[in-house]
């Protein structure tokens, strides 16, 4: 292929740049959540993910130790501590009132109403000193403007990965996905062959019907099908969801495979027929191997679809511990009102890792299959 552009270096560069641009455009959003998912959740909410590597300026509200823990020191009652609580940072200014959160420079002394004083050093160490023994358990608030180093954490992932029941859900998803990916392909392949290479009345009509069925909104079929399941006695079970995914995936499978098979060279099939091969043999020995790339690419799509599915799973499987799938579990992790972006980002990433790996693994076969398929004539 390099022969095509090999003699035009400028064009080659243009191609490289263009692809780079496309890739950047397409990965940027995902990169955003990858970076976000590794960031500290306080920083995540206040600054853009692209600033993750730069030190950020933040205004924090720290609370000094409770006054009744003060210890006597040279006639004053003193509390000591650090406003950053070990997370690091550099204080630039501080204040003791929400009205003026950066009224004092570091090392200056701020005076409180009752004669107490507050000092904050650049490293965040604070000293609160009272003239008399103070009381109460509500610590003084200290407002600090600080420059914080970027903070990264794997805590978000730990939350998601080690949450209870994730492993079980993972297995449930696999249990749903494996048969639901493979079975429709075979059924569809036979049907696609019949639609592409066999003669029978009503073929075009049947094909059109299948295209029409592609568009049936899934929501419309949920209630009648679940009702049917309950009447037959399948209820909410894995069998039910395997069949459902098979049914919902079939039209696209047949459509894609038929189009691929119809494009296979006519001569091969006709010469096989002349040799006395039956349709069944032609399908098994010629069509199936030749269609491998199409089968593989459909397998990827069907896999992704069943893996990421939430709607079908919540309807045809129960929500209980034994049947909850990964997407359902992640949604549960988000909490009933789902507001934690740090959990959302990490869980979104956890969920896409397996499909990505599958794609990478399948891609080798995909490419090999594609090259094998290129024997076809025009």
């Amino acid at each position: 292929m390099s022969t095509v552009v090999g003699n035009r270096p400028a064009l080659t560069w243009a191609v490289h740049l263009a692809v780079l641009f496309l890739v950047a455009l397409w990965t940027l959003p995902t990169l955003g959540i990858l970076v976000s998912s590794l960031r500290d959740k306080d920083q995540l909410a206040v600054s853009g993910w692209w600033t993750a590597l730069t030190a950020s300026e933040r205004n924090i509200v720290a609370r000094a130790a409770p006054p009744d823990e003060a210890e006597e020191e040279d006639g004053r009652w003193v509390l000591k501590g650090n406003v950053f609580e070990g997370s690091g940072g550099k204080a630039a200014a501080f204040g003791v009132s929400s009205r003026e959160p950066s009224a004092f420079a570091v090392d200056e002394t701020a005076e409180l109403r009752d004669g107490a004083t507050v000092t904050v050093a650049a490293n965040g160490d604070y000293v609160v000193a009272y003239p008399q023994k103070p009381e109460g358990n509500r610590g003084q608030r200290i407002f600090v403007s600080s420059v914080e180093p970027p903070r990264f954490t794997t805590e978000n992932y730990e939350n998601v990965l080690f949450s209870e029941g994730l492993g079980k859900s993972f297995i449930n998803t696999m249990t749903v996905t494996i048969p639901a990916t493979v079975i429709p392909i075979l059924i569809a392949a036979y049907a696609a062959y019949a639609l592409a290479w066999m003669e029978f009345p009503g073929r075009a009509l049947l094909l059109a019907t299948i295209v029409g069925l592609l568009v049936v909104p899934l929501q419309m079929s949920l209630i009648p099908l679940l009702r049917l399941y309950n009447e037959v006695g399948i209820g909410k079970s894995f069998i039910g969801i395997w069949l459902a995914h098979t049914g919902f995936g079939l039209p696209l499978a047949i459509y894609l495979l038929r189009n691929y098979m119809a494009g296979l060279p006519r001569e091969i099939i006709e010469s096989a027929k002349v040799d006395g091969a039956s349709d069944f043999e032609i399908f098994r020995k010629i069509i199936l191997p030749l269609s491998f790339p199409a089968l593989a690419s459909f397998a990827i799509f069907q896999f992704l679809w069943t893996w990421n599915d939430l709607l079908v799973a919540t309807v045809f499987l129960g929500n209980n511990e034994e049947q909850l799938v990964l997407t359902g579990r992640l949604r549960e992790l988000l909490g009933s009102r789902g507001g934690n972006w740090e959990i959302l980002t990490a869980s979104a990433f956890v969920a896409i890792i397996v499909p990505i790996l599958v794609f990478f693994a399948m891609q080798r076969y995909l490419v090999r299959g594609l090259l094998a398929g290129s024997v076809k004539g025009g």
Partner: protein, 384 residues
């Protein structure tokens, strides 16, 4: 029927309507027998092995997959054998037998698919048609009232308008970008890596996708630091931050971007396969003729894979007709961004009116008619 006469097949002495029915009946009997036998066998084997194998779900899943595949093969092989036994391709009636067998065999191939499609898709459609003439609870006959309501409903017109916008923009853009990506990545060494990265959004669920795009479209009040990328760029160049998904009309386009972003990978994978299928000789001939790479691409490659482009276009168009997750998650149809599928969802689960929901569903299905007609014509062309 008209076309069968134009095709040079061994179906001489084509069967009359009665003959067709007999064919169908025999096909049906063999099909059912085949399905029942293979399913029963599979279940029996499953039960037997299940008692021996450890009670692990994943093992069962793999077992089911293997048995499913075996049952499928068993069915196709068995039913073909039965057919060959009934109409052996030898003896005195050989020509007649082959004809009859050829009439039946397609139905054996199609059998399981047709049965499953019938249950999972045709039955719900019929059910929807029934419901669309009934009231909210599906019991009371209301005639065409639901359709009459639809004709006057403003939200429906808004959804229709948006849907048409989506249909015009998304399939075209996704196919276009997919084609560009496929053509370019095929020419470079790290093409597979690039492909994988562009394909990646396909692997992200809609829930994940809406989280991702929240970090693009997020809006913070002017003067505070933006955490949405788009607004950060806008403010960097001195612009005023916008709450993007609340801008009428524009917001539809911002939502479309998400679907384009997801679907380009699909288009790229399929089109890349087609591009690689173009015979080298054709291209080499063009190079010798002195064609520039652009000419080769537009004048030789694109026409060669036209059928595949059409398939990709169709598939994405159909997906667009059904799109609702993105709209539901990002705006739920507010700020004038409603689309038909989400509107149907709304009537089904918020309005609890199955009649109206079904009516909207049927409109969605009706919108696919042009594509169906076009596909019939293509299929007829294929047969010649």
């Amino acid at each position: 029927m008209a076309m069968s006469s134009t095709i040079p097949t061994p179906t001489t002495g084509s069967p009359g309507p009665g003959g067709f029915l007999v064919t169908l009946a025999i096909a049906l009997i063999i099909m059912l027998a085949g399905i029942v036998v293979s399913v029963v066998c599979a279940v029996a084997v499953f039960a037997a092995l299940n008692a021996v194998l450890p009670d692990i779900k994943l093992v069962q899943a793999v077992l089911v997959m293997l048995l499913g595949v075996a049952a499928c093969f068993g069915y196709f092989w068995g039913s073909n054998r039965i057919l060959d036994t009934i109409y052996p391709a030898r003896g005195v009636h050989i020509a007649d037998n082959i004809n009859k067998a050829n009439g039946i065999r397609p139905w054996l191939f199609l059998g399981p698919a047709v049965v499953i499609l019938g249950i999972y898709l045709v039955y719900p459609v019929v059910n929807s048609i029934f419901l669309s003439f009934h009231g909210p609870d599906g019991r009371q006959w209301v005639g065409g009232a639901n359709y009459a309501w639809l004709a006057t409903d403003a939200a429906f017109r808004e959804s229709m308008f948006n849907n048409i916008l989506w249909l015009l923009v998304v399939p075209a853009a996704a196919t276009f970008f997919g084609l560009i990506a496929a053509a370019l990545t095929d020419r470079i060494g790290w093409g597979n890596l690039a492909k994988s990265l562009i394909f990646m959004p396909m692997a992200i669920s809609f829930v994940g996708a809406s989280v991702i795009w929240k970090f693009i479209y997020d809006y913070r009040a002017e003067g505070t630091e933006q955490i949405g990328l788009l607004n950060a760029i806008v403010t960097f160049f001195g612009g005023e931050p916008q709450a993007w998904i609340t801008l009428p009309l524009w917001n539809s386009f911002f939502l479309m971007v998400i679907l384009i972003w997801i679907q380009t990978g699909f288009a790229m994978v399929i089109l890349s396969a087609a591009l690689r299928g173009i015979p080298e000789e054709t291209i080499e001939a063009a190079i010798i003729d002195g064609a520039s790479p652009f000419q080769i691409f537009y004048k030789i490659k694109v026409p060669q894979i036209w059928a595949t482009i059409a398939v990709v276009w169709t598939t994405i168009t159909i997906l667009v007709l059904k799109v609702f997750d993105i709209v539901l998650a990002m705006t739920n149809g507010q700020w004038g961004s409603q689309v038909l599928a989400n509107y149907m969802f709304d009537w089904m689960f918020r309005g609890l009116d199955f009649g109206r929901a079904s009516t909207i569903a049927l409109v969605i299905m009706a919108m696919v008619t042009p594509i169906m007609i076009w596909n019939i014509r293509e299929a007829r062309k294929d047969m010649k």
